[in-house]
């Protein structure tokens, strides 16, 4: 499985700037910690194999192997990952209006899962302004307190590792594609020496095109606003093309072109836009403010969605076919661009090779990427 140790993790992920700071390796052990948006190693660890390396989404991510293990199907260059349905969704009457961003679908699903007893808690990304605080929420109030989008990478999975060490579970995790990928690595490469399967029962994935480097964004914004005055941020659907920053004094719009340099290298090799490895995926609904796109990927997800609707947490409507085609087109576009970028940087390989690689695909897909014929 090409699992190596923490020293190799540093060499393969940290040093080349591929660490996205998802928190997968953080607080699994005393060595890796997250601070100010960066994952750092406090002390040297010389283990030849470790969970930090095995579960990292940015090294030895064997997409073909993961797809076979978790989906029972090959990893395809097309589509947006397995799913049963795509629907339009928004929070129902049970969720207090104004307490969520966009459609509030994520908060609604988490509340429903908690109320149903499907999970005992949820790993969320809280924090005000630029701050990202990995959080274990166990009450509905704690869930809504975390509502709102973050546009910087966050070490959310550190909270999962902490909760697991304390014996919490079963848990839901609201994850970006990189975080959902790290959780898929966990399922595919369990670590039986350190106990049974983890406590993750439900993964609610988020759509993501790219994120922003937390320290980079902080220095960028510090030149324009008082950082302490930032209340929230949003990127409205195209064609707006801006990052809106709400401060206690008003709001500020920053053209996305001005902040593209703050996108971490790690995002440029990510093939996943819709959190394909999650149970459900949620994103914005272009052209319909106040609504989300909800991708229901498996039976568990379908059951939760239905229960959430029934309990009044969620409202769903049909999602137009044209919009779905547009979504698939965008997902394929990201996959194609970024597998190509990985290949160009020498980071793409095929399963079974010795040489360390960030990403692996089947030899067939590798050829497709090499020929530039990806969708």
């Amino acid at each position: 499985m090409n699992t190596r140790g923490p020293r190799q993790l540093l060499a393969e992920v940290q040093q080349p700037g591929l660490c996205i700071g998802c928190g997968s390796c953080v607080e699994l052990c005393p060595y890796f910690r997250s601070h100010g948006g960066k994952t750092v190693m406090l002390h040297d660890c010389d283990l030849p194999e470790g969970r930090c390396h095995a579960w990292c989404p940015k090294t030895e991510l064997d997409l073909e192997n993961l797809a076979q293990e978790l989906w029972g199907a090959p990893y395809s260059s097309r589509g947006m990952g397995p799913h049963l349905a795509v629907v339009a969704a928004k929070a129902g009457p049970r969720l207090e209006a104004g307490s969520y961003q966009a459609g509030g679908t994520v908060s609604a699903l988490v509340c429903a899962a908690l109320e149903q007893g499907l999970v005992q808690g949820a790993i969320l990304t809280g924090g005000r302004g630029l701050d990202t605080a990995p959080t274990l929420a166990t009450t509905l109030e704690e869930v809504t307190a975390c509502a709102g989008s973050k546009f910087t990478a966050a070490p959310t999975l550190a909270a999962l590792n902490r909760a697991q060490a304390q014996g919490c579970g079963p848990l839901a995790v609201v994850a970006t594609p990189c975080q959902a990928t790290a959780l898929a690595q966990r399922r595919a490469k369990p670590w039986p020496q350190r106990g049974a399967a983890g406590p993750v029962e439900l993964v609610i994935g988020l759509f993501c095109n790219w994120s922003l480097d937390p320290q980079g964004l902080a220095s960028f914004l510090a030149q324009r606003v008082e950082l302490d005055s930032i209340r929230s941020m949003d990127i409205p659907p195209p064609p707006a093309g801006v990052l809106q920053v709400q401060t206690t004094d008003g709001s500020l719009e920053i053209p996305l072109d001005d902040i593209r340099d703050l996108i971490p290298t790690a995002c440029a090799i990510c093939p996943d836009m819709t959190s394909e490895w999650a149970d459900l995926s949620v994103g914005m609904y272009e052209g319909r403010p106040g609504w989300n796109t909800l991708v229901v990927r498996n039976e568990k997800a379908r059951a939760l969605t239905e229960a959430a609707v029934e309990a009044g947490w969620l409202v769903v409507e049909e999602f137009p076919q044209a919009n779905k085609e547009h979504l698939v087109f965008a997902a394929q576009g990201k996959r194609s661009r970024n597998l190509g970028a990985a290949l160009a940087q020498g980071l793409l390989g095929v399963s079974g090779e010795e040489q360390p690689k960030a990403l692996r695909v089947s030899p067939e897909l590798y050829q497709v990427v090499e020929s530039g014929e990806v969708a």
Partner: protein
């Protein structure tokens, strides 16, 4: 006890000599190998009516001793080799002004740097500042020469320098003590005469050229006395093949080497006790004996160069000589000497086939030593607060992730250059230099340097030389952080009191000078933390690193593990729960024994678990916070 031969440590012999000379005031700053001199005199203070102090630094100690001399009391000042550098500015001026009652500066060099971060040569100060230099070569001489040094000082009216080395100060030998006189005489500083009246006028090195001439006349008078000094002696045949000129403890090495070689009848040894200025007549008499000269001394070729200058000046009378020594590589110019090294030099010059250490011996020693002795790194003691402090500083600098670093300073914590302190110190020089260098590094942001800088200082070092550096950093707005590792005593040299302690060298109660209040009064932001609280210390260190606007101070206060104030008590009973210990598994990988590295923690290979070594453990409880599993359990002792 008087008259009976006793075994004394070199520093004790020096103390005895000073007492026999009727010393009344002594001052110094602790520094190996000199510390026991002031310590012993403090112990004798009550009985003999002395005033003894541990001064804030060497310069002040010399000033304190000089004051006594000017008031008519014999005084002694003691320090280690580099202490003379600190005191040298005052010493230069004092040498110019001259003194009144006998005053001796004992300076103890540390060849091989056994307890130093330098092997500085302090004899050069005698030549540079034009003061007489004495060097005892054994324990009896250490006592006798110290006593005589006071007489010499009074005879010439200037300070006399007396140099010891580690192997004399810290080794022991036979000494016959003499009587100690009753303390007498009232202290009084007479200053009503004219500026030129050396006995009654104001004391200064000015008018300079006049006083300088007087100083040189004093030195010339010393040379006259040196010509007949019993501390210089020649042993050997009238016309030897080789003349060895040596001083200090090296005389013993030479004696031993000659005895082993059986070459005493071929080699003459001129042992010099008065090494600056050299007495020319004595030198000429001995240089005339033969054509070959070997100079045996430690560290820098001080004696060798002075002998060569003298030999050149008298070349018309004695002819050209062939010299062996450090300049031609016969004797190494670094590290300590020993009889083997001297033996090698003599054997090669005399063409005697003799191997000091046969190859077979070395081979056997290498073969056997791993079984006989365990290879050990120098390490912080079990329960040392410094280990905990550097652990938190290391984590804070790692979390900060800007490749920040720490400028080190002088004390036990200098060991943090090594693995025991996680290699955290990246510069290490003189007392107070950590803060001074950090003040400088802090200014380099304007040139693109984006690494944060910290300095560490012990409490004693803080008073000694850090305060000016901190004032500089505050005044120049240098964004550095000073971490004062306050273990409440001069731990490294044996818990001598310092201005922060509540008792002085004489055991009298004195007002402690508050480091925190000093720092605040300078305008520095100050945080105080217990280094055993790892979480709070890490947070405090991170806060320092985050604020890059000004100079800041973090005081990490926790009593040294060996402090007499602890009375050997263990605050906590420690144990490892083997059920919880993860050992070398992923999730821990022996963090406590492999990384934290307290000697009180042992790794049980067989069970794959950590264990507390109860004999060694000091019960500080810190490892309970280090363990990621909560497997190390601390319980309050009943």
């Amino acid at each position: 006890m008087q008259g009976q031969r006793r075994t004394m440590m070199g520093n004790q012999a020096i103390t005895q000599g000073a007492l026999e000379a009727g010393v009344r005031v002594a001052a110094g700053y602790p520094g190996t190998p000199s510390s026991e001199i002031i310590q012993n005199l403090a112990g004798a203070a009550d009985e003999h009516g002395l005033y003894v102090e541990w001064s804030i630094n060497e310069k002040v100690s010399l000033e304190v001793a000089a004051a006594a001399s000017l008031a008519g009391l014999r005084s002694l000042c003691a320090m280690k080799q580099n202490g003379v550098n600190v005191a040298s500015d005052f010493l230069l001026h004092l040498a110019g002004s001259g003194i009144r009652a006998g005053m001796v500066l004992v300076h103890c060099d540390d060849p091989g740097a056994l307890s130093s971060v330098n092997e500085g040569e302090s004899r050069h100060f005698a030549r540079m500042l034009e003061l007489p230099q004495l060097e005892p070569s054994d324990f009896q001489e250490a006592k006798d020469m110290t006593k005589w040094a006071f007489e010499l000082s009074e005879e010439i009216g200037n300070v006399v320098m007396l140099r010891s080395v580690t192997r004399l100060s810290h080794a022991s030998g036979g000494v016959v003590p003499g009587p100690i006189p009753q303390a007498q005489g009232k202290a009084r500083f007479d200053h009503h005469g004219t500026l030129l009246d050396k006995g009654h006028g104001p004391v200064s090195s000015s008018p300079v050229t006049y006083k300088h001439r007087l100083q040189q006349e004093k030195l010339a008078r010393a040379v006259e006395l040196f010509e007949d000094s019993p501390f210089n002696s020649y042993v050997g045949p009238e016309a030897p093949e080789l003349l060895v000129i040596t001083s200090s403890i090296c005389n013993l090495y030479v004696k031993e080497a000659l005895a082993l070689l059986g070459a005493a009848d071929r080699v003459g040894v001129l042992k010099l006790g008065t090494t600056w200025p050299l007495p020319p007549k004595l030198l000429q008499r001995n240089l005339e004996r033969c054509g070959q000269v070997l100079v045996v001394e430690e560290v820098i070729p001080f004696l060798e160069e002075n002998v060569k200058i003298a030999a050149a000046e008298m070349a018309g009378e004695i002819g050209a000589k062939r010299f062996f020594g450090k300049r031609d590589g016969t004797i190494p110019a670094q590290g300590e000497l020993n009889p083997d090294i001297v033996l090698g030099a003599l054997a090669s010059i005399l063409d005697i086939a003799y191997q000091a250490r046969p190859e077979e011996y070395d081979r056997l020693a290498q073969e056997l030593s791993p079984q006989a002795t365990q290879d050990r790194e120098l390490a912080f003691c079990p329960g040392c607060p410094h280990r905990a402090s550097f652990w938190s500083l290391k984590e804070a600098l790692a979390l900060d992730a800007r490749d920040g670093f720490i400028c080190g300073d002088i004390g036990c914590y200098s060991l943090a250059m090594r693995p025991t302190g996680f290699g955290m110190l990246k510069t290490l020089h003189a007392m107070g230099s950590g803060a001074g260098m950090a003040s400088g590094f802090g200014q380099l942001g304007r040139f693109g340097m984006d690494q944060p800088v910290m300095a560490v200082s012990g409490d004693s070092t803080f008073y000694h030389a850090v305060i000016p550096a901190l004032i500089n950093a505050v005044h120049q707005k240098s964004p550095m952080s000073l971490v004062v590792l306050d273990n409440s005593g001069t731990a490294m040299t044996g818990f001598q009191p310092h201005p922060g302690t509540e008792a002085n060298a004489l055991g009298q109660s004195v007002p402690p000078v508050d480091i925190e209040a000093i720092c605040r009064s300078l305008g520095a932001e100050v945080t105080v933390c217990d280094p055993f609280d790892l979480e709070a210390t890490q947070a405090a260190a991170l806060a320092l690193l985050a604020d890059q606007a000004t100079a800041k101070v973090l005081i990490l206060r926790q009593l040294c593990a060996l402090s007499p104030q602890r009375k050997g008590a263990k605050p906590y009973e420690m144990r490892v729960d083997p059920e919880k210990c993860l050992g070398d598994q992923c999730g821990c990988n022996r963090l406590c024994t492999r990384v934290f590295g307290c000697p009180g923690l042992a790794w049980e290979k067989q069970s794959g678990k950590a264990r507390i070594d109860e004999v060694i453990c000091a019960g500080c409880g810190v490892c309970a916070s280090v363990c990621p599993q909560g497997a190390i359990i601390k319980s309050e002792r009943a």
